[in-house]
Amino acid sequence: MKKKYLNEAFLLLMAVPILLWSLLPIYHIFLFSISSKDSAFSGALWPKEPTLRNFGHIAKQEHFYLYHFWVQIWNSLWIAVAVGALTLAVASCAAFAISRLKVRGGRTVMNLALFTYFIPAAFLAIPMYKAMGNYGLLNNRWSLVLAMVTLAAPYAIWVLKQASDKLPWELDEAARIDGATPLQLFRLVYLPLMTPSMVAIGTYALLLAWNEYLYGYLLLSHERTITLAVALGHFIAADDSPWELLMATGLVYALPPAAIYYAFRRYMVSGLTSGAVKA
């Protein structure tokens, strides 16, 4: 009994500093976002006159850097959802083919795909830029979608493959005897059983695209095509950056991922770890 309490006390002692350490920057952002321009750098732990005016500026697009705020956040959202959906489509088909249909060479394809992770994404940025240019996709939302799907797919395939390896074989055999074609097997048996892992992987790809900066910066350049992440980067281009607006926008930008994560947290934990160990 006593030992248990000591253990928990120790864990708490570890957890509190870590929690404070990770929450501090967020608090800082929050502090900036509710301060007026003058008091933003005052160094106080709480502004004298907290205000929500910054958020009003954002909503009404009342600053040079915010003129296209709604278009940009829509771009972010559109691209993130597209990446999530497309990654899921690609990865679930691939995982099904490799794990359930045992397509010859499937494992090799997956390992080759995983091998691409040995090359840092930053190195791939230039070839990717060139490729998108060749296809005439620069400055088009699809260029970022395709690039992000390329980056997210290998991991997604791997996780989904590991998860599908755990589905009992007899289910496929029973379905085959029941008269299912491979497509029916995929649609009526495989996909429903894979839902938890699919939610986790879809969320992973969606957040990956939502948070992406480098590729967005390279592939999209027009003010009305860039994502909000890239637009946020533009804030610091000026000598006299509107920090309070930058932080307020950043806070708004962080809300959707937080909400998604909160909604799907049950799947995230089980889904991402379910493929981690070979059972």
Binding site: P168, E170, E173, R176, I177, D178, V189, L193
Partner: protein, 352 residues
């Protein structure tokens, strides 16, 4: 309903042969049990019939139509798996109706047939439950329900009772048997449990090492096992087997310093090395016992008593009806029933 025929069926996984030319004819409506130790190829044979494994050589036909290259779904068979293989995301009713749905049957027909099957199997109250909400026995019945709604030509069972506890297994055994008597669908049933085989089968194929050792009705296998393997596989407790020398002139086998009586025998030659087989229930105790033995363990079961005894270094099992006064350490006389003794050639293991 249909007949099933295996003709010189062979199977190899890579370079490893697992079935060495199986020929077997199953007639319309028959309940055929394939029984054997694990690794004997019985499940592989069943899976080949189901279309889940390729056929390396030979042919399999259902109703005189060769199905070697036919997809599982076109063979008109239904299979019950050891693990039940129920679709976890579908209710009992959806599980049972799945094959009909794939066949694009009308919804009211599906409902009607699922309801009929559910009634036969006493599953009506559970149609809207999910498999995880059912007990092992109920899941087993759903798996059978999924098979019967289709009204297939052949039922295949792959060790369907192995995951159930002993009591439920006995109950389900009777249920499957009753179901077969009611539906009269040709059935191929794989098990490693010889009791299941004996109690359920019309005919049994005893398999070992990729071959059929003997094919016959249950009591035929029990009364006249063709070889040592079948003799020791069928029957519980297993048959006692003793190495000895045949003395035809004095109608006995000499073994362990005793004379073991045998019945009339046409084959075998004087002085031949043989293996003397006698079932535990065919050894009487006391009287003019030809053999003396020492009691090692007494296992009272109520209706009968099993005695583990020793003759020389060899341990034998003797079953007596009713109770026994024997105590460990005591010497008793054994009298094998000469008419029920089995003799096998020591070298080949074949029946004499």
């Amino acid at each position: 309903m249909a007949s099933v025929s295996f003709s010189q069926v062979k199977k190899a996984f890579g370079a490893t042969p697992v079935l060495h030319g199986i020929s077997l004819d199953i007639s319309d409506g028959e309940f055929m049990v394939l029984v054997g130790p694990s690794g004997c190829g019985k499940s592989t044979l069943l899976r080949m019939l189901a279309g889940l494994e390729d056929i390396t050589a030979g042919s399999i036909s259902i109703d005189a139509r060769v199905v070697n290259d036919l997809d599982s779904k076109d063979r008109d068979i239904a299979m019950v798996f050891q693990s039940y293989a129920l679709y976890p995301h579908m209710t009992v009713g959806e599980n049972m109706g799945f094959s009909l749905k794939l066949r694009k049957d009308r919804k009211d027909i599906i409902e009607k047939r699922v309801a009929q099957a559910a009634k036969i199997l006493n599953l009506d109250p559970y149609l809207h439950r999910y498999p995880r909400e059912l007990s092992g026995g109920q899941r087993q019945r759903v798996a059978m329900g999924r098979a019967i709604v289709r009204d297939p030509k052949v039922f295949l069972f792959d060790e369907p009772l192995s995951n159930l506890d002993a009591k439920l297994r006995v109950a389900m055994r009777a249920e499957i048997k009753a179901l077969h008597q009611r539906l009269k669908t040709t059935t191929v049933y794989v098990t490693h449990d010889q009791v299941e085989a004996m109690t359920m089968a019309d005919r049994i194929a005893v398999m070992n090492d990729g071959r059929i050792e003997q094919l016959g009705e249950p009591l035929e296998l029990y009364d006249r096992p063709a070889n040592l393997f079948v003799a020791q596989f069928i029957g519980s407790p297993a048959m006692n087997v003793i190495d000895g020398v045949l003395r035809k002139s004095s109608s006995c086998v000499e073994a362990l310093g005793h004379r073991w009586p045998i019945g009339a025998l046409q084959r075998g030659s004087e002085g031949q090395a043989v293996r003397y087989g006698v079932r535990p229930e065919h050894i009487a105790i006391g009287g003019q016992g030809a053999v003396t033995a020492e009691v090692v363990v007494v296992e009272p079961m109520g209706a009968e008593t099993e005695l583990v005894v020793k003759v020389g270094d060899v341990t034998l099992v003797v079953t007596t009806h009713g109770r026994s006064d024997a105590k460990p350490g005591e010497a008793i006389a054994l009298a094998p029933d000469a008419a029920s003794v089995h003799l096998f050639d020591a070298a080949s293991g074949q029946r004499l």
